[in-house]
Symmetry: C2
Subunit: 503 residues, 2 copies
């Protein structure tokens, strides 16, 4: 029977779990690990033997009870298993083995409502529970992810030192990520990309919104690429140069950087550039869809995020599109002769639409905190996203500054910095969208973000007609511009004697 | 104790229930009615005494058991109560009073997953259950709604004569609604706007999609109105004339017709037109949101429908918009001097976008039938929607013809009639969207439908870059255009030794 000799435990040794375990061990913690199938645990340990300096701090167990007993009390156990039923199953197995006050941390991509439910159930049984977003993919998990924990302050106190240690670090002044990690030599110094987001499901909700924003960021970059290729006639390496140039300025970000890498990648299996051989059918795993569905449910106009999800769905209908392309004609594409001007239009379109997309994401979080009774710190969330995660960007430093200037900012677009950027870029943005529309090139994200911008800054919209229609056919009533809000009227439409009735 | 002297029963005497009960009685059925609060039943009967020829065929009951006993066996009981918990509550009360083989019909706006659950539970207990969409608002319920029932053929056999009798009727050749109903004098002849849609939740699902389409139809009309007003400088009555003109052609529909009525309506409380006094903050009740969420979940790119839902959400942020309008500047609006040309551009934009929106709705139903194991007849669904419901339009006759020509049509846009309409109208449509974009007027529905059209007819889309990004940061793999579908590759991005691995 084993001694309690581990500082922390981790269950689930798929790639994310392996990498997070190594990251934790690199920071001096002794970590017990367990996986449902022991074969994977054995392979992981063999891998550690070969290459990992922190090997001696990783203790493998084939038995769950033994694994639990090996962890010092009050225990900290991190789960990195599949979201959904698998998470519930392992929690059910764990609970009889735990002592009151022990902490379970779910680091998977759980639905926030599941996290709220699990936290409630476990708290009632005397256990602590944190649902933590873990962003940054495999490399992030290994050398510094962005960590978005939700739970009680007591639970967070138990987890905080570990999460602070393993999270990505950014320079406190510039907000830029500190790189240079290698096995056994973690980054020292800097500000950790983690903080308690809020109670119960808040962390997983924010991670979900992060992913929804990731969808729209990627879609905006894809539309930029497409206009440069189709209207500018640029080859992949020329477009790579454009992105590398953009990465020096206000668009500087991980996704712009890797786009520069990707577009200059030669095809390892033949001539030309690899990107030209990659099939244009996008996959998705669900968090983008959850974000858009939550926006619909909460009545937040996150149309650009939804368009990014739908754009992936449409791309996946590859065979249908190929068949339709032979039936449905569009205009001939007219190349733009002034490439520099096109590049400038697209750059502004990308930046302006990005501002709108983030405005939608933050509006959504602001509504969620009302719905679920959280109290979110938007500057802190933006700071957490500056490093480790897929959407990390200098842009997030600007957002953190905006919410630091005004914690009650009702929409990101209203902050002076972003307002000026929109003011400065919108004519280029309009040029890019109009060009795409004329040439038959789909830019659903550029276009929907522009409609959002123009709608949000419109004191009046045609919903007056829509409300009149609803009253006409369904007696749903309407308000009047010349009466106080909350007074509702109904007209007995189309009869001749039209009496308006206040209800 | 009462005799079994009623042909059918109805529970729930809000406006929809009252009107449907009167409609059923008008067709010669003796109908027992029950309401949770008897006061409303009493008021209803008093109303019937005064004005309804069918008064003697309406039998009121204050006791649920007595109500049930009054109905001939096997019983048919229609529910028109609030969707959700109230529906479950009344079913729970009813079940102990029923006999095997009795039929419950839920005519509320139930979520289709609830209908699937209820049908399963009741069938297991020996009862029959139909979830039926009832569309057409108060007037439809009274004089002929569009009825979309889902359930077993045995259950439908019990309901069919009643539903056939009370449904809206259309001319069998033109597909145009037969009007002229009055209390006690139902329309005779014509084809009834009902048919068994499919098993369990199929009827409620199709009703939900109907409502989602209604959202986008209304949004498209609102955007048309807005461009005519803002770019054409037309007053409400002038725009009314435009809609009345459009109602003579291929756009002929209930919603275009009532828009013509609404726009010429003078303000009963002051000078000018009422529409100019109606507050531009739209309400919504949930079915549009459900439609968009179902599209997200099923991976169907119904972006225009989602945009219509988001447009309502954005309109509802009236105070935020007014505040933002003082901060965020846009271009000055430039009036179009050629009004006739503008009207023509907008008309084509409206028709083309409408085609795309319906294409999305039918694509969504086609996917739902795969997901839920239904077998839908799309021509029949289009025929049912020709009369009674809010989206009734000559357009639906064209859709019925398209699916009659080809029941396996993969997308409505590919049908020759609609393809030609898109071909004919798209340059005007592009003009309208480009004009809106340049002038800072939001047209999310026109624009998103155009992006859908252009995306669907694109053999290639920039999702190749997006898949490369996903492989770069998340090892999600990609397919290649020069290899068979189903072969997945991964590159160990950005290291120098770039080996592509087939997984």
């Amino acid at each position: 029977m084993s001694q309690a000799n581990a500082d922390i435990g981790l269950i689930g040794l798929a790639v994310m779990g392996q990498n997070l375990a190594l990251n934790i061990a690199d920071h001096g913690y002794t970590i017990a690990v367990y996986n449902r199938h022991y074969q994977r645990t054995r392979e992981f340990i063999e891998h550690c033997e070969r290459t990992e300096p922190a090997r001696e701090r990783i203790l493998a167990h084939g038995d769950l009870a033994e694994f639990v007993r090996s962890i010092e009390r009050p225990r900290r156990i991190v789960l990195l298993v599949k979201a959904g039923a698998a998470t519930d199953a392992i929690i059910d197995q764990l609970v009889p083995l735990l002592d009151p006050g022990d902490l379970i941390v779910d680091g998977g991509n759980a639905h926030w409502l599941d996290t709220i439910r699990r936290e409630r159930t476990l708290a009632a049984a005397g256990f602590r529970f944190i649902g933590s977003g873990v962003s940054g993919g495999e490399v992030g998990a290994r050398f510094g992810p962005s960590l978005m924990p939700g739970g009680s302050p007591e639970a967070w106190q138990m987890l905080e030192p570990v999460w602070q240690a393993v999270a990505a670090k950014v320079d406190p002044d510039s907000g830029r990520p500190l790189d240079g990690s290698a096995p056994g030599r973690p980054v020292s110094g800097g500000v950790a990309c983690t903080a308690l987001i809020g109670p119960n499901g808040a962390g997983h909700y924010i991670k979900m919104v992060h992913n929804g924003i990731e969808y729209i960021d990627m879609q905006l970059i894809s539309e930029s690429y497409w206009l440069l290729k189709q209207l500018g006639g640029l080859e992949a390496d020329a477009i790579s140069s454009v992105f590398r140039d953009w990465n020096q300025g206000e668009l500087s970000s991980y996704l712009i950087e890797i786009t520069g890498d990707i577009l200059q990648q030669k095809d390892p299996a033949g001539d030309g550039f690899l990107v030209d051989k990659v099939l244009d059918a996008a996959g998705q795993k669900g968090t983008g869809q959850w974000t858009a569905a939550s926006a619909l449910e909460q009545g937040i106009p996150a149309n650009a995020i939804a368009e990014a999800v739908f754009a992936r769905s449409l791309s996946a209908l590859k065979e249908e599109r190929v068949a339709a392309s032979a039936v449905l004609e569009g205009p001939a594409i007219r190349r733009e002769s002034d490439t520099a001007r096109l590049v400038e239009s697209v750059r502004h379109a990308l930046y302006c639409a990005k501002i709108c997309a983030y405005a939608q994401g933050f509006q959504l979080m602001a509504e969620a905190q009302r719905t679920y009774g959280w109290r979110l710190d938007f500057a802190a969330i933006a700071r957490i996203w500056r490093g480790g995660c897929i959407i990390r960007a200098s842009f997030l430093q600007k957002i953190a500054e905006a919410y630091t200037r005004n914690a009650e900012l009702s929409n990101l677009m209203l902050d002076p910095y972003f307002r000026d950027a929109l003011q400065n870029g919108q004519s280029h943005w309009r040029d890019a969208v109009a060009l795409a529309v004329r040439n038959g090139l789909p830019v659903p994200a550029f276009g929907s973000a522009l409609a959002y911008f123009d709608g949000y800054r419109s004191a009046s919209l045609p919903a007056n007609l829509l409300q009149a229609q609803r009253d006409y056919f369904g007696a749903h009533t309407y308000e009047r511009t010349d009466r106080p809000r909350g007074s509702f009227f109904h007209l007995d439409w189309p009869v001749e004697d039209r009496r308006e009735i206040e209800s």
